[in-house]
């Protein structure tokens, strides 16, 4: 079904004056509803949402144009200040909008680290100057300079509006610091977001410890390094909540079956823990390091035995922390998304320059530039019948919104009449080829360059303003 979103034509940042979305498939996880609908938007506000029924709904399928609330990414790296060659706030927000995201939460591992309100002000000024209507939220560092020694200015950062604390890129190594941070931040209603990794088990590690790494001669990165860190974090959290009921632990980019099992158990026990998983740990596996390019759910773990190798091995764009895991672990990531153990999909968008990535695999910087392909990877799982569309959308919208709580400054009522339009329109039947030139991120470090994905984003509207609009053709 063709929808001419260009009728809305206007530059980024302008109020969306007028848009009629007729006979589209609407998904509104917050309202628990999906189906054929008409939407009318005037002057940046959703004027009406009409859910179609009966004959009006005939022929409107979920595999065409879809409208959903704007996506929220709990984990991005925008690299400013300090590494603007890789990404700026402006290029990162443009990339986010291209991916359908209207809110991003940026990590504090900038240079200098975002460990005091001055750096936050700098990042916010860059966002304002960009003209992008995408909402930029930020985490503050847990420790000063992310050195893991002393607490950063948690209270001042909280007052200045950070949405949580993280030393991401590295775990909070000291159990005492983590305990204190959870308590201190918890009393202010803010989460600690931990990158769960027992660094003593991953020194020099290059690839998931397993068959593929053994064959390729890459230093093994054991799954147990994540599980043991998660177990420690949960044990500390259980101690802290006795004193500070407001404590909240969020575990980001969980990638292993065992770690997700631990979170599943902790949630069942009532601990205040949430977690996210990434699109790449869902859709890719360590088979890709060997040169396989099949989706995780099509993998067997033995690309050599299956003659599944179609690309050169050791592609440095696949180097990421945590590493791409086994087929079984990727299956566990999917299962966690399906049963709600994983609250959200977050991209861990990690743009890098070619200087840092077009090098030997073992020297390549960790990270995937993924915010523009996140929807495409999730839709690949949807297309394969592994993930319901509504669940995929929920993991990008209502899921992360619940993790964020009231800390976003914007109301997020979803596709609701009278609300500011904050939505994405994409076409599942419109396949697009990922190209370096087409990515708005400065980081071209994507393992799916040259690959065709479904679900081209046609329009992203953030807070009533145009954030991204697909070019003609």
């Amino acid at each position: 079904m063709a929808v001419d979103v260009r009728a809305a034509a206007g530059e980024v940042g302008r109020i969306l004056a007028e848009l009629d979305l007729s006979a589209v498939w609407a998904v509104d996880p917050g309202a628990g509803r999906e189906g054929p609908a008409d939407l009318v938007i005037r002057d940046g506000t959703i004027e009406s949402v009409t859910w179609l029924e009966g004959a009006d709904a005939d022929g409107i399928e979920p595999n065409g144009v879809v409208v959903a609330p704007g996506f929220i990414d709990l984990h991005v790296h925008l690299r400013e200040p300090g590494n603007e060659d890789a990404e700026t706030v402006a290029s990162g927000l443009a990339a986010a909008a291209h991916g359908g995201f209207t809110t991003v939460c940026t990590m504090p591992n900038t240079d200098p680290a975002l460990d005091e309100p001055g750096v936050l002000a700098l990042v916010r000024a860059a966002a304002a100057a960009s003209g992008s209507p995408v909402e930029l939220l930020a985490y503050g560092a847990v420790t000063a300079g992310r050195k893991g020694e002393q607490l950063a200015a948690l209270g001042e950062l909280g007052d200045a509006g950070v949405v949580g604390f993280s030393d991401d890129g590295a775990p909070v190594r000291s159990a005492t610091i983590l305990r204190n941070a959870l308590a201190y931040a918890g009393s202010a209603g803010l989460p600690v977001v931990d990158h769960a990794e027992d660094a003593s088990a991953t020194d020099g590690a290059e690839a998931n410890d397993g068959f593929v790494a053994t064959v390729l001669g890459l230093r093994g990165w054991p799954a147990s390094a994540e599980a043991s860190a998660v177990a420690r974090d949960l044990a500390i959290l259980a101690d802290v909540v006795r004193d500070v009921p407001g404590a909240h632990l969020h575990l980001t980019h969980l990638s292993t079956a065992r770690a997700l099992d631990l979170v599943r158990g902790a949630k069942a026990a009532g601990l205040p823990v949430t977690c996210d998983v990434t699109p790449h740990h869902l859709a890719f596996t360590d088979e890709w390091l060997a040169g396989a390019r099949r989706w995780a759910w099509d993998g067997s773990g033995d690309p050599w035995g299956d003659n599944a190798i179609e690309a050169q091995p050791f592609d440095p764009s696949l180097r990421v922390n945590p590493p791409l895991r086994s087929v079984e672990d990727a299956g566990a990531v999917l299962a966690a998304l399906l049963d709600g153990t994983a609250d959200a999909v977050a991209t861990d968008h990690a743009p890098h320059t070619e200087v840092d990535k077009a090098v030997e695999f073992g020297y390549a910087a960790n990270g995937i530039s993924g915010i523009e392909t996140a929807l495409g990877l999730l839709l690949a799982a949807v297309d394969a019948g592994r993930l319901p569309l509504a669940r995929a959308i929920a993991a990008l919208t209502s899921g992360p919104r619940a993790v964020l709580g009231s800390r976003s400054r914007r109301e997020r009522p979803g596709l609701t009449e009278g609300a500011a339009a904050d939505l994405v329109v994409f076409d599942r039947s419109d396949r697009w080829t990922v190209g370096a030139d087409g990515l708005l991120s400065r980081g071209k470090n994507s393992p799916v360059l040259g690959r065709t994905l479904s679900g081209r984003v046609l329009l992203t509207v953030a807070g009533g303003r145009i954030a991204y609009e697909a070019a003609e053709g």
Binding site: G210, G217, L218, N307, F314, V359
Partner: protein, 348 residues
């Protein structure tokens, strides 16, 4: 990568055309289709046979009063080593010179990323300087694949990290075929003993020896076999069976070939081994242990050796040792690969 040799492919190997190595490689009609040699995993049984037969022809050249053919005259072979090596580098250099190539040697600093030029820039530079073939050694697994992506000519992997050492595996196979009765490794018990985890020699030998039908055993302390049991399980499913054990007695009993691997001192620092002394006592290839093997078992070592640690001095120089044959055959194998690559590069 189903390399398991079938009877059908084996019978077709007998009428494989072998190049006349005195002639120009471009004029040879040989079924060689690989532009690079980065590992043996992509070599078919027919490819392996062609390399072996071409190496036979090169052995013949090496036996001549003037061990030289004009095959690569005017062609630039650049040897780029990011890791210290004497034997492999010199072997490649001798091989290239025996083929009348112009040889350029570059010993590069290991920490290229931190200190200077990137690998990609270096490759572009040597190509601009006229390199048509690049022999490369690097301490990072997979580095030659990056080189092959940017280099216009052929890349020959001289060893990358823990990953692969294809010329070593091929010269090992050649040496075994040369010295084993019947001229084949099929059904022969071949033991690789030592630090398998960190060994590119072991990994490449797994591919070539399982493809050639050897009864392959990997043996060492369990910390240095990490992950190989899983590989063996996968291999068995794919018809590429091999065995993994920490029992030296079980591995060596009735072995036809025993290959000891170098053990490095830094393995103690990372907690993989208690001490070199304990390693030598439990896993060192001594005369007493070798007695478990067949009386005529071949003793091999890729070098350089730590005599008295992974191999006893008297074993290394015993009548059963073919360690110096490995060195000579290494030249023949590298000549064969350079020759075959020269043919495919310009002829294709």
């Amino acid at each position: 990568m189903n390399l398991a040799t079938t009877d059908e492919t084996r019978s077709s190997l007998t009428d494989l055309p072998v190049p006349a190595v005195d002639a120009d490689p471009h004029e040879q009609d040989v079924p060689w289709r690989h532009r690079h040699v980065l590992d043996v995993d992509v070599l078919s049984a027919a490819d392996l046979e062609l390399v072996m037969r071409t190496a036979d022809a090169m052995r013949e050249v090496l036996g001549r009063p003037i061990a030289k053919v004009p095959a690569l005259r005017g062609s630039n072979v650049t040897i780029l080593f990011y890791e210290a090596s004497t034997r492999t580098r010199v072997s490649f250099e001798v091989a290239a010179k025996n083929l009348s190539a112009d040889v350029v040697n570059i010993a590069a600093a290991t920490s290229s990323v931190a200190k200077g030029e990137s690998l990609v820039d270096t490759i572009r530079t040597v190509e601009a300087l006229g390199a048509r073939m690049l022999v490369m050694r690097h301490s990072v697994s997979g580095a030659p694949y990056l080189a092959a992506e940017v280099f216009g000519g052929s890349v020959l992997n001289g060893g990358d990290g823990w990953h692969a050492h294809p010329t070593q595996a091929l010269l090992d196979l050649y040496t075994m075929r040369q010295r084993l009765p019947g001229g084949s490794v099929e059904g022969r018990k071949v033991v690789i003993l030592g630090d398998v985890l960190h060994s590119r020699v072991a990994r490449s030998n797994i591919w070539s020896l399982t493809a050639s039908g050897a009864d392959l055993w990997l043996c060492g302390p369990s910390t240095l076999l990490r992950g190989f049991e899983a590989w063996a399980a996968r291999g068995a499913a794919a018809g590429r069976r091999f065995h993994v054990t920490s029992s030296v007695d079980e591995a060596l009993r009735d072995a036809d070939v025993v290959m000891a691997l170098r053990i490095q001192k830094e393995r103690m620092a990372s907690g993989l081994l208690p001490s070199l002394r304990e390693y030598a006592a439990r896993f060192g290839l001594t005369r007493e242990r070798l007695a478990l093997a067949r009386p005529d078992a071949l003793v091999m070592h890729p070098g350089p050796m730590n005599e008295g640690v992974e191999i006893a001095s008297d074993v290394a120089v015993s009548a059963q040792s073919v360690i110096t044959d490995q060195v000579t055959n290494g030249v023949a194998i590298r000549m064969a690969l350079l020759y075959l690559l020269a043919g495919v590069r310009d002829g294709g």
